[in-house]
Symmetry: C2
Subunit: 295 residues, 2 copies
C-alpha cells in the first residue's frame, strides 16, 4: 500500500505556480478573498489561501464584511470586484450566513473570475469539455492527485460515492472526459443506491465524498483499488486536547491495507484544494492577458 | 415483454400541450425554426416540428437561410431572434454545414430562448438541478418515456451507453437528480469501457446511445431489464424500396424477449424529441409571461 501524500503534491504544484507567476508579464495575478463574518473554520481557510498567495506571488485583496451584510450589499461588493480590472479571481468563502443565498452569490460572480468553479456556466463548460472554464477546486485536485500518483483512469471503473454539486458531479464529469488522463467508466452512487457494496467493490478507483465518518469499510473495497477520501469529519476523541479528531469518509485502518494507493485525512485531498484555487487564479490572469492582447 | 410506444406517449403529451396552450393568456407561444440549406433529413425534421406546432397551437417562424450563409450572418440572424419579444424559442436545426461552428451558434442563442437545451448555461443548470433551465429534448424525452411507462428509477441502476453531450451526459445527470422520478445510481460507459457486458448486465435500465447499429446483444442485457434504444442507424436492406432500413443501437429481435420493457426504433424515443421541444417552447413562453408580469 502506498500513501498518496497530498501535502507533498500540493507543495510541488505551488512551487511550479511560483515559477510560472514569476515569468508572467505585467502585474501579478490578483484574487479577492471575501469572508463574511468570523466563522472560525472560514477564518482558518481564508488564512491558508492568503498564505498560499503570498508564497506564490499572487496578490490577495482581503474583504471581510460583517456577518450582518445584506444580500444587496454583498451583491454590490461582488459587482464592484467583477468590474475591477485589477482583480482576476473572486472567492467568496463558504459557508455564508443563513440569510444569504449561496447559489445566488456564486452566480453573481462573473464567470471569467469564478476561480472556485461554482458558476453555472463553468459547470456547463466542464460538462462540455470546454477548457476555458474553471473547474471546482476539490474535483480538480482529485484528478491532479491521481495523475501525479501515476494512476491512469482510461477504461478503468471509477466509482464516485456522493453526488454533490461541488465534488461528486464535477469529479464524475471530469473522469468521463475524452482526455488522455480521463476516459474512465464512471458510476455515481449515493444515499439511495441499492446494494452499495456490490457496486463499490467493482471500483478500480473509489472516491468517497459523502461526509459520513468512516463509512467506507473493508468489505466495500476491492483489493488493489485506489481510494480517494474527500471526507473531513470531526469525531469525538477524548484523548485529544481539542476533544475531537479529524477523519475521512473511509475507515482508514482497515481499508488501507487492501488498497494499492490511498489518501490520508488530513493530508490527502485537502491541501490540493488551495493549490487548485491558486492554479485557477493564474489561469484567470492568463485569460485576461489574452483578452487585453486581443483588443 | 412490453413495448414502450413512443408515438402513443408523444401524442398524449401533444394533446396535453394543446390544452395548456389554449388556456394561456395573451399571444400564443412562438418558436423560430432555423434551417440552413436543404439537407433532406433536416428538411424532414423541421417539417415535423412545424406540423407539431400547428397541431398544438404554437406559432412557428420559418427561416431557411441558404447553405452559403456566413457565420457572421447566422449570428446576426440569431441576435435578431434573441432580441425579438415575439419569439419565445429558437431552434437551429443540426447538423450545420461544415463551415459553421455548431457549438458557437448554439451558444449564441439566448439561454432563455434555448429550447433545444444545448446552451452551456442550460447544461450547467441541469447539473445544478435548477429547473428554470431547458433540458435537451432527447434526454428529457427518455425520462418522460420512463415515467409514463411506470418505470421507477429510485435506487435502480441506470447504465448509460454513450457519453455524448446531447444524450449520454444530460441523461445521466437527469437520472441522478434528487427528484422523486430520478434518484438512480448511474453508470456511464463508452468506447473505452473495459468488460462492457459485465457492466451493462447490471443495468435495471439500459439506455443505448452510441450510434452503432444493433450493438447491444442479448448477452449484454440482464433478464427483466428495461431497455431504451436511442440509436437511429441506417443499414443496407435490399428488400426495402429505399435500399435501407432503420435500426437502433439494440439488436431488437434477440434482446426484446429478455426485457420487461423496451422501446422500438422507429417509434420509441424519436417521437418524444419533438414533443419535448414543444414542451420547452411552452415553458419559455410561460417564463416570459412571468418576466413581463414582474416588470
Amino acid at each position: 500500500m502506498e500513501l498518496i501524500d497530498g501535502n507533498k503534491i500540493a507543495a510541488a504544484i505551488i512551487a511550479e505556480l511560483k515559477a510560472q507567476v514569476a515569468a508572467l508579464p505585467g502585474r501579478k495575478p490578483c484574487i479577492a478573498l471575501v469572508r463574511v463574518g468570523e466563522d472560525p473554520a472560514s477564518v482558518s481557510y481564508v488564512k491558508k489561501k492568503e498564505l498560499a498567495c503570498a508564497e506564490i506571488g499572487i496578490a490577495s485583496q482581503l474583504l471581510f464584511p460583517p456577518v450582518t451584510i445584506s444580500a444587496d450589499e454583498l451583491f454590490a461588493l461582488v459587482d464592484k470586484l467583477n468590474a475591477d480590472p485589477d482583480v482576476d479571481g473572486i472567492l467568496v468563502q463558504s459557508p455564508l450566513p443563513k440569510h444569504l443565498n449561496e447559489v445566488a452569490v456564486f452566480r453573481r460572480i462573473a464567470a471569467h473570475k469564478d476561480v472556485d468553479g461554482f458558476h453555472t456556466l463553468n459547470l456547463g463548460k466542464l460538462a462540455q469539455e470546454d477548457d476555458t472554464g474553471f473547474v471546482a477546486c476539490t474535483p480538480a485536485g482529485i484528478m491532479e492527485l491521481l495523475q501525479r500518483s501515476g494512476v491512469k483512469l482510461a477504461g478503468k471503473h471509477v466509482v464516485m460515492l456522493g453526488r454533490s454539486l461541488i465534488v461528486g458531479k464535477p469529479a464524475a464529469l471530469l473522469a468521463l472526459q475524452r482526455k488522455p488522463w480521463a476516459n474512465a467508466t464512471v458510476t455515481v452512487c449515493h444515499s439511495q443506491t441499492a446494494n452499495l457494496p456490490s457496486i463499490t467493490c467493482q471500483a478500480d478507483v473509489l472516491i468517497a465524498a459523502i461526509g459520513k465518518a468512516e463509512f467506507v469499510t473493508a468489505d466495500m473495497v476491492k483489493p488493489g483499488a485506489v481510494v480517494i477520501d474527500v471526507g473531513v469529519n470531526r469525531v469525538p476523541d477524548l484523548t485529544k486536547k481539542s476533544g475531537y479528531r479529524l477523519t475521512g469518509d473511509v475507515h482508514f485502518s482497515t481499508v488501507a491495507p487492501l488498497c494499492s494507493k490511498i489518501t490520508p485525512v488530513p493530508g490527502g485531498v485537502g491541501p490540493m484544494t488551495v493549490a487548485m484555487l491558486m492554479q485557477n487564479t493564474l489561469k484567470a490572469r492568463r485569460q485576461s492577458l489574452i483578452q487585453v492582447g486581443n483588443k
